[in-house]
Symmetry: C2
Subunit: 134 residues, 2 copies
């Protein structure tokens, strides 16, 4: 399998990382995600990494890239499900994922995205994005 | 990675199949799912299979098993994201997944589960399951 499935649910895209990432797969994921954000008008991306036992600098850079591209496309990336050992390793490596939001699990991550949507609705910002709805 | 992550969201569990299933992994998934259904009181299980290019009799049997066990635990299984080619192969093989509900994508599958929950709420059945909430 050379593509990671992207699920759309309630204004957000959900990706579960469960295979070892390599260069080509990471590039494909970045492309697929950008394309889906534009096509669906999603405002948030949840990346679930509970299956990852190690987050090295390669994965860290991939997450950073995805977050940066998503931000330009006006979608927010939330990394969820990180194992305690992974968090410890990240800090030890000096990779603090500075530009990326994290949440304990998918439910809390989704709540963050919904809260952002509700806030923007209240501000009337949403209408400016109406043309991007699916 | 020897475990497939199970995400909990809005009363449902979501599983994305994206690696080749083998015996041990299938058994682990069945066990993990049953355990999570009981622990979280989830009433629905969404199994996303858009990454699968082939659904053979082994996968068919696994889905059947998961559906049967979930039913006993009072949760409904909905298989979502099936590729057209997979659907054609299934019918040609005589595997019609008779006991399993299907939906086009995660959003529609989730809507089916939410509709079932709402129906039960209206019937007042929900209170009988209150003790299973997380």
């Amino acid at each position: 399998m050379d593509r990671i499935p992207i699920l759309k649910l309630g204004g957000a895209l959900i990706v579960t990382i469960q295979v070892d990432m390599h260069d080509r797969l990471a590039v494909a994921l970045e492309e697929d995600l950008s394309e889906r954000i534009v096509r669906t008008g999603a405002r948030g991306v949840l990346i679930e990494i509970s299956a990852l036992e190690i987050v090295d600098s390669f994965i860290g850079r991939m997450l950073d890239n995805i977050a940066a591209v998503s931000r330009v496309l006006d979608a927010e990336v939330v990394v969820v499900g990180m194992r305690p050992a992974v968090a410890i390793t990240l800090v030890e490596l000096g990779l603090t994922l500075a530009g990326i939001k994290t949440a304990l699990n998918v439910e809390r991550g989704m709540a963050m995205i919904q809260a952002r949507l509700a806030e923007e609705d209240a501000d009337g910002v949403e209408s400016a994005h109406g043309h991007r709805e699916e």
